[in-house]
Symmetry: D2
């Protein structure tokens, strides 16, 4: 499991005085960075190896100015795609959860590719069942 | 069906030279404005009547600088909640689709409330089956 | 003068119920697109010809949900750099104004370059003094 | 001087593979939080005491994926307004600097108000000359 702590940024709130629903996927992307690094340790943009296929987010409780913790697990590993499960916590409450499907992808020929064995082994260390 | 046309804004792209996945939910929220107005024609923030429960987005094709069209339908009407189905089109291709669940909500007492009959009738006019 | 009309997007507001100060430079960038096109009509990213050197924004009046108009003029043309002056209007009031300095730039060798004569002529058509 | 360290978020980059110019004012706002707390330690939105009058940003060097440090000083203290000077550093280089004018403001009657003496004393501790 990976964990990131963020201070809510003022511009991330909206006129309802809570964090905008649109911000959750921004935090989730930012908190996936350690997973990106399993695939591309130097974050080289010219050979970026991942594309996002879909996400799904539940907003369980409003989030306000203050601090949030984002928890990130691998939820599923397929041949070329894998799932990431994430949660947002604030003040001891789970406020949001989400699932993202990423695909190991070759941007040059626009094709998905099998996840390399060494990366697969690294992903397995973060499988949610293992928590 | 509601339709909005947006020019992709340069800051909405990311280092992969396409539109960031995080932008789709921003466009979807912006394109739901006509639905917000069915509930609150003057968009009065002090009695804002809706909260977002969840969303789910499929990214089917990369989106690039240029123009996009967002199409919005009502997909489901429950007692207090309803579903919105949306699509992003660019150059004749459906590039993304998504489903959002909104709840008729009272922010003062943090409770969901039945959708008023007159609003329900308005929502029904935009049901996707009717397209 | 170039003019763009935007509906304020809900996520562009913040917890003070007005548009976040951080959004003005986003609108200004979006409204500079016609100027980008004077330099690169097809918006080709591989030979992108401009870099931003500085901006300066005055917030004169709070901006709220609703519609805004962004007006854009050329304020100054130097050898390799030029100035852009922009305003945000809402409900008949000038709410914000700003000045941005752009530089004609070669990203390959990280050097500024003289503005081509044909582009200079196009820029001159939008000089603010000519309004 | 206040200091915040941020990892650049992927969505903060743009199609030129660097951080979008529009992000600098977002980081600057986020990094001003300790100053907001000098005025309102609990960040109470109902009595929010500050409004932004203007900002001015110089982009000195492109910023890329990685880590940035934001440094924040008080540059000037007037009767009701004050200046904040901020810098973005990456890999030992100053990449951006900016000056923001904030006004002690009463949102109920839309008037500026003198900075309270106790807050003025706190601000003075962070004056840039004192660094």
């Amino acid at each position: 499991m990976f964990e990131e702590v963020y201070k809510v940024r003022f511009y991330e709130t909206d006129a309802l005085k809570h964090v905008s629903n649109t911000v959750i996927v921004q935090w989730f992307e930012a908190a996936r960075e350690p997973i990106f690094k399993l695939f591309t340790p130097d974050l080289n943009l010219d050979t970026w190896p991942l594309i996002l296929a879909n996400y799904k987010v539940d907003l369980l409780k409003q989030i306000f100015l203050g601090e949030v913790t984002i928890k990130t697990w691998i939820s599923r590993i397929g041949n070329s795609s894998f799932g990431i499960y994430q949660e947002v916590w604030q003040n001891g409450h789970k406020c949001s959860s989400g699932e993202t499907t990423m695909v190991h992808f070759n941007y040059q020929n626009s094709c998905s590719e099998a996840i390399p064995e060494n990366v697969r082994a690294l992903l397995e260390e973060h499988i949610i069942a293992g928590e």
